[in-house]
Symmetry: C2
Subunit: 528 residues, 2 copies
């Protein structure tokens, strides 16, 4: 039984023409200061009304003594005053015909019986007046379409297609910051807080129909109406991936949830099973939630779980394969013709099976040929490539390490030999150029200086992007020798997810495969 | 039965006065080019001899037609020629009385029966002559004490106290690069490769007695003599932490190991049990291996598994507590006096239990008081703090987001209001200053601009360092709002491990607790 079955108008929430802030303040660090400041900073261009009876102006805007005094309609109300005063303000909001309120005030249900009583009172007033409450105890919302950063923290997400509902506001805005660093763009964010008269299902339902949102991620501590949540999810998952991090694992996790949002986490294993049945993809850590948001919003869904692995060094192939069983993935079995094809140009001692270890071969054209051969092979549903992506800092760093450092060392410790050193380098460079492309079945061969352009990340990412479009298979490049910063730079510029460790690539691949199995089962059901 | 029981002289390997490179080359990208270039770049100052019958000079050094022609003693031999020629060179090395050889050549045991036969032959010649072989199929070694970067890749590790043996060279040097980024310093590195006549146990034994090495990390694919390995480990673990990433998990991981190093991984669960009994700490991923190297080389070992968690936002506390059960950790139960102490200055609605959620309180002095109270509490063996560490980029980014961005938005969209905006900000700033330190039990309170210095990472890291020294308890600060780069910058400058996600902090804490339990059990045994 849901008691909150009044008509909701979330379009006004995410695209408000005017916002009023009750409790607006000039005091640094207060919620009533942060929220309007971040709306301003985020570039919100609608009308802003500040309500504060003790100020003439707040942040330069005229301050009204009360909500009633605002001489224009208000689409969205932000409430940042002590808990015990919230009910009155909602009464005024009802009179003004406001239908969405973000209540940042805490000291409600999360702190005990008295708070819970106040929260029920606030919820009742709101529901009777047809007001949907975000919160109380919320960090706020973000909406791409109005550049609305109505958030307690100065977080200005990248614009994109990921919708995000988080039961922890703090965690939510941080993950959007991680997303920013990784190049993941968001369409909407809701910090659902105590969810007085809105449930996570309401937000999920909205995002499911939202044309701005292609991928949905959730951070869940507890759900009031689990059955409705799963129903809503089931309607969405065949069309859009829904990824959830469910908190409250184990005895101690449950206890922590209880003292945070006052939710009953419930037995995790039960919930996990239900999520899987509904086609919801589980993220196991905060980091993985952002990885999955990046991957699902930028990669095609594979047709199966058979993965081709290409590596420049065997150890990385092993590190990747190590979690295949756990993630429900299979090492694709390469057909004889692919092996024969690779035999044409790889050193004789390459692994001759998947993972394809090209044993440190540094002829760049060969990397492309391996990727092409594996991506176009029917036995391969996905491709993970390691060591081929170098990272933004690689060139500068490596130029320094391979030329400047040795030069400086020679200069310092073996000064008289420096001219001979330079001559040898020059001689070798010329020889490398003249013998470029030569095969050396017994060794790794030299570098071909003519391939400099092909060694750039732009070149390989372009190739991967083209192959992904052509074959509709995810290709995950792992940049083992770079940092997060460089990976995010690339994602932001190319829109292609890349991983920073093999294990993280495999986890993402596992989740893609799981979603693929779910979609296939759905299609079968629909066909039957 | 070990057949390789000749006397070893690894001191000469790690501190050679002279190195000869057979197969030295001027050709870019060849092993015979990379190894001496990286030795030069790394600042090795001993004698370097190049052996190449077809060149007059290699990298400026006179080239000798063969090893025999070098007119001086050689402490360390590097062999970078095709596999089938290696045996002859080792014969010559024997004559020259060389007792350590790094054989980078591949095409040995890892590629089939013919290769394995050659490898046995090479091993026999070497063992009879008393030559220890690193490899074949190795990436080389690093040694801090001689600035010896005898590596196939341009990796110049930070100097430190972590000794590292890796059965995959490629993976090994990459992890040292990750270590470099994280601020983890190394004393020695050995890419053990095919381990023709040296086993991982030999290296472990050496590092166990090595005064330059305080923490040992291992990447293992397979071990020839498991019993000896565990014996050696058992002698070391009561004195130095030994951390191992064991590859070859599951059916598919085993297969990948087999095709990489030709090792039989064996049933992983068996090995895991044996490792735990020997006091070896297991790393589950490559990333974790580096995290653990950083943590164990910079944090004290806790006395137990009771963890205090402090968080600025409840969600992060939950994300941390979620894996406590899995990691064998306990949420410390705070005694009444600590709760009473925190009640004195925290907002009334703080969580009143562990995790200590200080509900977004931004009075910096309170952060320090919470950390002090928890670190000095007898019920707390370790402390994880989240949200208090801000990261190097935070100040610039946040200054921009909280002042420049709103200013620019006002200028652009609400130009005429800009002067009023500025006046309001100024008024609020003055008021915040005059009301600093005031308690606000109902809300989060404002920021105190007078605390600017205390908000720096330097201030909090100093406090944490002092507390760690005083209490001998690990304190792990999680910088949820920063990237890897910033974390490593701090580690390099302060020598204190910090984590980038709560889950990673908890994993590290779990491993510290496990080692603590092992040490306690050892002490008990010794006492009994």
């Amino acid at each position: 039984m849901r008691e909150n079955n009044f008509t909701r108008d979330f379009d006004k929430l995410f695209n408000p023409r005017s916002v009023a802030v009750v409790g607006a303040s000039n005091m640094l660090g207060k919620w009533g200061f942060n929220m309007p400041m971040n709306m301003i900073g985020g570039g919100y261009r609608g009308d802003l009304y500040m309500v504060n009876p003790r100020e003439e102006r707040v942040l330069g805007f005229p301050a009204y003594p009360s909500l009633k005094d605002i001489p224009a309609p208000v689409d969205l109300l932000v409430v940042a005053i002590p808990a015990r005063k919230v009910a009155d303000v909602l009464g005024e909001a009802a009179e003004k015909g406001i239908c969405n309120a973000i209540v940042v005030s805490s000291n409600f249900g999360e702190v005990g019986e008295e708070g819970a009583r106040m929260e029920r009172q606030v919820a009742d007033i709101a529901s009777q007046a047809g007001i949907s409450i975000v919160g109380p105890n919320t960090m706020g919302i973000y909406s791409k379409t109005s550049s609305l950063c109505c958030l307690g923290a100065p977080v200005f997400p990248l614009e994109g297609s990921v919708g995000f509902v988080s039961q922890s506001g703090n965690l939510g805005v941080q993950l959007m910051t991680w997303g920013y660093r990784k190049g993941v763009g968001f369409s909407r964010f809701v910090g659902s807080g105590n969810a007085a008269n809105t449930d996570i299902s309401d937000w999920l339902e909205y995002l499911g129909d939202d044309t701005e949102t292609d991928t949905i991620i959730l951070y869940i501590e507890g759900i009031k109406d689990g059955r409705r949540f799963l129903e809503v999810a089931r309607r969405i998952t065949p069309r859009k991936p829904v990824i959830a991090l469910k908190a409250g694992k184990g005895r101690q996790g449950e206890r922590a949830v209880l003292s945070h949002s006052g939710s009953l986490a419930g037995p995790f294993e039960l919930f996990r099973g239900a999520m899987e049945q509904a086609g919801i993809i589980e993220a196991e850590t905060t980091e993985e939630l952002v990885d999955l948001a990046a991957a699902f919003s930028s990669l095609p869904i594979p047709r199966g779980a058979r993965v081709g692995v290409m590596t420049l060094g065997g150890g990385w192939g092993v590190a990747a394969a190590d979690s295949f069983d756990r993630e429900g993935l299979e090492l694709a079995v390469l057909p004889q013709e692919v092996i024969a094809e690779l035999d044409k140009f790889l050193p004789s001692f390459w692994s001759h099976r998947n993972p394809v270890d090209i044993v440190g071969n540094v002829q760049r054209s060969n990397h492309f040929r391996v990727i092409d051969a594996m991506a176009t092979c029917d036995e391969v549903d996905m491709l993970i490539t390691m060591g081929t992506l170098l990272g933004r800092d690689f060139w500068l760093e490596n130029m320094f390490k391979t030329s400047v450092r040795p030069f400086l060392s020679m200069l310092r410790y073996r000064t008289t030999m420096l001219p001979f050193f330079q001559l040898s380098i020059w001689k070798g460079f010329r020889e490398s150029l003249s013998r470029r492309g030569e095969r050396n079945p017994e060794g790794s061969g030299g570098i071909n200086p003519g391939e400099a352009w092909q060694w750039t990340d732009t070149a390989i990412i372009r190739r991967i992007k083209r192959l992904m479009q052509q074959e509709r298979k995810p290709i995950i490049a792992v940049a083992v020798n770079e940092g997060e910063r460089s990976a995010s730079f690339r994602m932001r510029n190319s829109g292609v997810f890349t991983a920073t460790t093999p294990e993280r690539a495999v986890r993402v691949a596992g989740k893609l495969a799981r979603y693929s199995r779910f979609l296939a089962a759905q299609a079968k059901k629909a066909g039957a």
